[in-house]
């Protein structure tokens, strides 16, 4: 009986310390899978908008992701998600389909984006109009500085869109 009590105690003590060590090890493993600080600190991208041509899609790169920059032509509907520089309106989004992340292609004739992966479509303002994508193309954090746009920083125009729930 006494023997049993001692064994149980030893068992529980061993089990407790093992569980503690195991949790510690799991945490270390989880942290090893985390993105590295150098990856997270991936800086900012500055794009000059003044050179853009109407209805021609430019693809830039920010944090490894493609960024769509499309200068809207007069016949394209204005949208609250447009980035406005003077009298020009720009569509600026992360160029990854909101379904599963392929890069949709821009069809200048139809003025829509079509994703080849599962057939999703977006209009020129980035709104989903067909297929599996559940939401519009996402707007990256941006800040306007004259005719250039800095990605990765939240400027007042971006914050306004964010508060209005227009980002994605």
């Amino acid at each position: 009986m006494k023997e049993q009590g001692r064994r149980d105690f030893m068992g529980m003590a061993l089990g407790g310390f093992t569980a503690l060590g195991g949790l510690g090890a799991l945490y270390a493993m989880k942290r090893s899978w985390d993105p590295l600080p150098s990856v997270k600190a991936a800086g900012f991208t500055t794009i000059d908008l003044s050179a853009a041509q109407e209805n021609v899609l430019n693809i830039e790169k920010w944090r490894g992701k493609p960024i769509f920059v499309l200068k809207k032509s007069a016949d394209m509907k204005a949208d609250d998600r447009d980035v406005v520089v003077g009298s020009d309106r720009f569509h600026v989004t992360i160029g990854l389909c909101t379904h599963l992340g392929c890069i949709p292609a821009y069809l200048p004739g139809e003025k829509i984006f079509r994703c080849a992966c599962h057939g999703g479509e977006f209009d020129a303002s980035g709104h989903e109009i067909f297929g599996p994508p559940p939401s519009p193309l996402e707007i990256p954090p941006f800040k306007l500085e004259g005719t250039t746009i800095v990605l990765g920083e939240e400027g007042p125009e971006f914050k306004k869109m964010k508060d209005a729930g227009l980002i994605a």
Binding site: W33, D34, P35, L36, V39, A42, I59, K61, R63, G64, K65, P66, T98, H99, L100, G101, C102, I103, P104, A105, A116, C117, H118, G119, G131, P132, P133, P134
Partner: protein, 406 residues
């Protein structure tokens, strides 16, 4: 202390038996592991799979000698160094590529054989479950291997498949980035999938193969009629020399010699593919280096994932993910969904026979549609086939519940 024969010659059978129990081991695992006579070549698929895994292992070890797990170097180390410089490097790569593709063909044949003959039932549930674990781990192994050449298909398959973990409206992008170790698949992603592919997953696979073999030992393999054999009685007959009357044969050497014959035929076909028809296992798109700013016009997985990929496609994002999730795990539960008391081949089981063929044809149709572009009529066909697949689960429950004991 145990007794040791002073006169036993070192490393003779007796000497080893006294130290390791090899005679008992050999009996239990091979010469007195009984296999029913009433089976056919489909029962050789398991050993064919084991042999193919061996080939993947050997060819993989040689690929590993020159492969460089680095986003800047991987593509050239495979397509330039291994393919053009390393002596017979192309041979290992073609064996590895063809092996990874064909192993799934054999896995599917092996699975459908099990379903047809009811070999997942009554005492054989653990065989089925360990087999499904092997299927899932092999899928992860093939996917992680597909990342390694770091071509366009590697990159974009990596992008799409890791995005599945965002869970649709759950928007768990933190989890996706955690899995990748980056915002997009990059160097951290490649090196961790390299680790999974060459060490962790192969270790798990080897462990699971041992488990799978272990689950076979007590229930024994099924036979063409689903007959319940008294293995002890049949073994006595065999050992008494009445080999004709006995319903069983020993695994080694009798059954194994048949296995090896089937393997011989299989390897002729296999090496024919390796030398003359390896193209099907090498996607041309993957001969373009990974480019995060350009999606290939059509992306689709390797043929063996097409059926489950097609279940994802016709629905909206959330429904697609749910359907896909169900498809991934549904087959695990087969032994518990099938309520029928009969262990018998499908053609003796009435409605079950129809169910079996609908399942097989539906999976083939899904596979074909998965390769076609997501347009027009293909979308509708895809939707119908995906719904049929999802309904087959409940249908099996009802059909087998009604099935009368034979």
């Amino acid at each position: 202390m145990a007794k040791f024969d002073e006169n036993a010659r070192p490393f003779s059978e007796k000497w080893l038996d006294e130290r390791l129990g090899v005679v008992t081991l050999k009996k239990v695992l091979s010469t007195e592991y009984w296999i029913p006579k009433d089976i056919n070549f489909l029962w050789a698929m398991g050993m064919v799979l084991a042999a193919t895994f061996g080939l993947l292992l050997i060819s993989g070890i040689f690929l590993l000698m020159y492969y460089k797990p680095d986003a800047a170097l991987a593509f050239d180390s495979v397509n330039y160094t291994i393919m053009t410089e390393v002596g017979y490097g192309w041979l290992w790569r073609h064996i590895h590529g063809v092996g990874a593709s064909i192993v799934f063909l054999i896995i599917y044949i092996h699975m459908f054989t099990g379903i047809y003959y009811g070999s997942y039932k009554k005492g054989r549930e653990m065989i089925w479950i360990s087999g499904m674990l092997l299927f899932v781990t092999f899928s992860a192994e093939a996917f992680s291997g597909y990342m390694l050449p770091w071509g366009q298909m590697s990159y974009w398959a990596g992008m799409v498949i890791t995005n599945l973990f965002s869970g649709g409206s759950l928007e768990a992008y933190g989890l996706v980035e955690w899995i990748r170790g980056d915002y997009v698949p990059g160097d951290a992603f490649l090196t961790r999938f390299f680790m999974l592919h060459v060490l962790l997953l192969p270790l798990v696979i080897i462990g699971l193969i041992v488990l799978h073999f272990g689950t076979l030992r007590l229930p024994h393999v099924n036979n063409q009629k689903g007959e319940e054999i008294d293995f002890e009685e049949a073994a006595e007959l065999y050992k008494a020399g009445k080999k004709k009357e006995s319903k069983v044969i020993p695994f080694n050497p009798v059954f194994l010699s048949k296995d090896i014959f089937v393997m011989g035929v299989y390897f002729i076909l296999f090496f024919y593919l390796v030398f003359y028809h390896f193209g099907f296992a090498m996607d041309p798109v993957n001969f373009d280096p990974a480019d995060g700013l350009k999606t290939p016009p059509h992306i689709y997985p390797e043929w063996y994932f097409l059926w489950s990929y097609e279940i994802l496609r016709p629905f909206n994002k959330d429904l697609g993910l749910i359907a896909f999730g169900i498809a991934q795990v549904a087959l695990f539960f087969l032994p518990f969904i099938d309520r029928s008391p009969n262990v018998a081949p499908a053609h003796k089981r009435g409605l079950f026979n129809i169910w079996f063929w609908v399942l097989l044809v539906d999976m083939i149709v899904l596979t074909i549609l998965g390769k076609l572009p997501p347009e027009g009529i293909y979308n509708d066909l895809g939707l119908v086939s995906a719904i049929v697949f999802l309904l087959l689960g409940p249908a099996l429950f009802v059909i087998t519940k009604m099935e009368k004991k034979i």
